[in-house]
Amino acid sequence: MVHKSFLDRIALFGRSGLDIIESMGRSLIFLWHVLIGRGGAGTGLHLLVKQLYSVGVLSLAIIIVSGLFIGMVLALQGYSILVDFGSEQAVGQMVALTLLRELGPVVTALLFAGRAGSALTAEIGNMKSTEQLSSLEMIGVDPLKYIIAPRLWAGFISMPLLAAIFSVVGIWGGAMVAVDWLGVYEGSYWGNMINSVDFYDDVLNGVIKSVVFAFVVTWVAVYQGYDCEPTSEGISRATTRTVVYASLAVLGLDFILTALMFGDF
């Protein structure tokens, strides 16, 4: 009996592995159809603009508020450490590099997964459960082109822009705390920042990171919605999976990208 149970567990483990590989394969085929398949009826720029508003513009509030507070906290923490070494004039450089290289792309991606990603999954899952996706198919409109593609492109386009806004607002928040409150000389704050931030090493690498994160987070979100079980519980599980998978993927990819971009090997 124990022997059988052990074999059962191995079989279960194997089945789980196969399920994961199958799901990854399905998601790749899904992505292929969304990006490469022909345009077909019902596709157009107006759908993308609508989604850019829903995915991008409606995420602005949380990105701006978060960016502001994170910049302010960075300035406070940085100042309290640097002042011990008499280097508080370097706080602007520290805030800018931290935001441009790391926190801008990463925190934006995490916030985006929580706000827009989960909303995308729930919306698409709900369309599936109310047979709206089937209905589109029967009208001769490919839901991958009409529903999924505009949302995917809206995510790709809007998230790097949101990350840029996050970093800019964060740097401005840092200046409010460091310059206006803690009394760091304004010229040092901005001057050190301008001298130390390199366009290719810091700004461009940050942009590359946010483009990669945008791709992964939006892909996970739309795929989970499209592939979910069309029940309330299924949608709920898919929404949770979007946030968990997207966040873990962002953090894992961030390490890999950082190692490739800044690792000295």
Binding site: A41, G42, Q132, I139, D142
Partner: protein, 269 residues
């Protein structure tokens, strides 16, 4: 090899499985052009699956599905989307687009598949809504409609492109007697007025039998019987009789498979 021209849709030797369970096992079903054909059977017997096979939303494990001379399982994804313009489908839930009002829902197929001017689209939408008696609801959103009204709007949308074949998935479920009467009348009327082929998948015996020219009864992955409503009413097949008479017990048992009742009750002692 192509489908007989007298039949708009033909399923030949179709087998379809979910996991290891056979939903259909080598079934042959044909739907005569210009007629209303009912597909009946107990809940869970695969009626909606049959509809999805006909619309190529599911692919059979074996067999052929011919629609107007095209074998659907052999079509490419893009050809399938073109072919589906020949279909109108009334889903069980209506499946209206929740972000569009009644007018935009009905206008949707016209907007994506035609380049008609706006005035003409408006006229066509008004005509379709007039046909289902809901011209006055043109500005309402789907969440402002009753269940019966949603299905009528969905029906107006399904006929917007004047399809050859109309598929109805459980059109009478959850409807009050008046709404049922309206739908029964509309299905027959639209079929005769537009000369289309209608397939009604339902387990509502009286309503389906009253409008169907021909009926199929399916169950256990097979076609249990077929014929005109009168022929099936007089069938001597006990399974068909049980279904047509609505008997709670018979070849389809009232009790789900279970161990002996006495043993089960005394099992703990």
């Amino acid at each position: 090899m192509s489908a007989d021209d007298a039949f708009a849709v033909e399923l030949k030797g179709v087998t379809f499985k979910r996991g290891s369970r056979k939903i259909f096992d080598n079934v042959d079903i044909r739907f005569r052009r210009g007629k209303v054909t009912g597909v009946m059977g107990p809940s869970g017997c695969g009626k909606t699956t049959l509809l999805r096979l006909m619309a190529a939303q599911l692919k059979p494990d074996k067999g052929e599905v011919w629609v107007n001379g095209q074998n659907l399982p052999s079509l490419s994804r893009s050809d399938l989307f073109d072919m589906r313009k020949q279909f109108g489908v009334l889903f069980q839930s209506g499946a209206l687009f929740t972000d569009l009002n009644v007018f935009e829902n009905v206008a949707f197929p016209l907007r994506v598949h035609t380049k008609l001017p706006e005035e003409m689209i408006r006229d066509i939408v008004l005509m379709k809504l007039q046909a289902v008696g809901l011209r006055g609801a043109i500005d309402l959103m789907p969440d402002e409609l009753s269940g019966g009204m949603k299905r009528r709007v969905a029906l107006a949308r399904a006929i917007a492109l004047d399809p050859d074949i109309l598929l109805y998935d459980e059109p009478f479920v959850g409807q009050d007697p008046i709404a049922k009467g309206v739908l029964v009348r509309l299905i027959r009327l639209l079929n005769d007025a537009l000369g289309i082929t209608s397939v009604v998948v339902s387990h509502d015996l009286a309503e389906t039998a009253s409008i169907s020219d021909y009926l199929y009864v399916v169950g256990d992955g097979q076609v249990l019987g077929q014929g005109t409503p009168d022929q099936l009413m007089n069938s001597e097949n006990p399974r068909i009789q049980q279904f047509m008479q609505g008997n709670p017990d018979g070849p389809v048992p009232f009790h789900f498979d279970a161990p002996d009742y006495r043993d089960d009750l005394l099992g703990g002692r």
